[in-house]
């Protein structure tokens, strides 16, 4: 049988926390971040706009600081183990910025195995100047050969889950978005169950 590919969301799927709010919390910007996130969740501002605004908020923080905050975020370690064991077939698909998450991706064995939004920094790499490109997850996912498995938790993973041959909602960190469940083939609520299912596929 043809080897399946595995696509993973990053926030609250691989990480045990949402990354942008965590960064904001470290620099006392939680309140502004929360407002932006909630407005997006209520559908008051489109996801793309909310993402840009949230990134803008975090521009004040040097890029190396952001990376080091991200490196402290706890991960679902059993899932990371699965990814490391199957790194050839695993990919992360996330809206987050390359310049922020590159170290994390390397540390879980997925250097060059992730698709994300692109940030632009100054020559020193110290400061984020802006976003060059926000990932079009749908287009990215359509470029993957079938069969593939996708795992995620949020509204913005619903399309990926729906296109997957096996689309798994993971509720081990946060409740799974309804739009995602409506597109999923499976749902699991513990990391152990997720890894058991992934190994059975």
């Amino acid at each position: 049988m043809k080897k399946k590919l595995f696509l993973f969301d990053l926030d609250s799927t691989i990480t045990k926390k949402e990354i942008l709010p965590e960064i904001a919390g470290q620099v006392q910007m939680s309140q502004q971040m929360k407002e932006l996130t909630e407005r997006a969740m209520r559908g008051e501002i489109p996801f793309l706009q909310s993402f840009s605004e949230r990134v803008d908020l975090l521009k004040e923080i040097p890029v190396p600081t952001v990376r080091s905050i991200i490196s402290q975020i706890p991960l679902n370690e059993e899932l990371v183990e699965f990814i490391k064991e199957n790194r050839e077939n695993c990919y992360v698909v996330t809206g987050n910025l390359d310049v922020w998450i590159c170290d994390l991706m390397e540390s879980i064995g997925l250097k060059d195995h992730y698709y994300c939004s692109k940030g632009r920094t100054d020559e020193t790499g110290e400061w984020l100047l802006g976003i060059d490109e926000i990932i079009d997850k749908g287009r990215t996912i359509r470029s993957f050969p079938h069969p593939f498995v996708a795992v995620g938790d949020g509204n913005n993973d619903a399309e990926m889950i729906g296109l997957a041959d096996v689309g798994i909602g993971f509720g081990g960190v946060r409740p799974i978005a309804t739009a995602l469940l409506n597109n999923a083939t499976h749902a699991v609520y513990t990391e152990e169950k997720l890894c058991q299912l992934l190994r059975q596929l």
Partner: protein, 216 residues
């Protein structure tokens, strides 16, 4: 090892004549929902899959309240596909042996335990009681009682929805779960005690049965 099997509980279909407005597996029987009673009997099994469709949020919520290590499998097409489709979705990527169980089947705990602890393929049959039963003809063989045929009009026992079979032997027939079992006959029959809950009277009888320690 009996724990090394996949258990598939089908809860995707609509509630029925009870007119409760929620999946029948969630009906409270003597203080606990049917599905919760089943999950309690399955606590030693580590590959339990609950197939969901109709009002799946309610099923997930109830299961998660008692047990989080369950794999939910969606049958979003529950309105147009039969129980067989739900069962097959549940068995996909499963272990060598798979147990089919209906989420709305109230079964005697001892009888379910006996099937689960057995390593043999078998079908659960009961004394016919429902209005429109799927019947099973049986035959006594040196190995014991075996089911030889499913039928709407003849047979000594009623099909219960409980079966244990090898995953690799299952075909892809559409329709009811027993259509999938037909090509595998003859299969050993296990007599099990169950209560079907279709009417309010059934419901009262089932509650009384459980309250009385699963005795009539």
């Amino acid at each position: 090892m009996s724990a090394s099997k996949t258990i598939v509980i089908s809860c995707a279909g609509m509630g029925t004549r009870l007119g409760m407005g929620y999946p029948k597996a969630l009906v409270d029987v003597a203080g606990k929902p049917l599905l919760v009673r089943q999950l309690e009997l399955l606590k030693d099994y580590d590959d339990v899959r609950v197939v969901i469709g109709y009002q799946y949020e309610k099923v997930i919520e109830m299961v998660n309240a008692v047990r989080r290590d369950v794999t939910f499998v969606f049958n979003h097409e529950y309105k147009t596909t039969g129980t067989g489709a739900s069962f097959l979705k549940g068995t996909a990527y499963g272990r060598d042996m798979v147990v089919a169980l209906d989420g709305d089947l109230l079964v005697h705990p001892e009888d379910l335990k006996r099937v689960l602890e057995s390593e043999e393929e078998c079908i659960g049959g009961t004394t016919p009681t429902t209005d429109n039963p799927v019947l099973m003809s049986t035959e006594m063989t040196p190995e014991g009682l075996v089911v030889t045929e499913f039928s709407r009009d003849k047979g000594e026992y009623e099909w219960t929805g409980l079966a244990q079979v090898k995953t690799s032997r299952l075909g892809t027939t559409q329709g009811h779960v027993y259509y999938l079992l037909e090509p595998l006959l003859p299969l050993k029959m296990e007599k099990i005690r169950t209560k079907e809950i279709d009417t309010m009277e059934d419901y009262r009888n089932a509650v009384a049965w459980v309250r009385n320690g699963y005795r009539d």
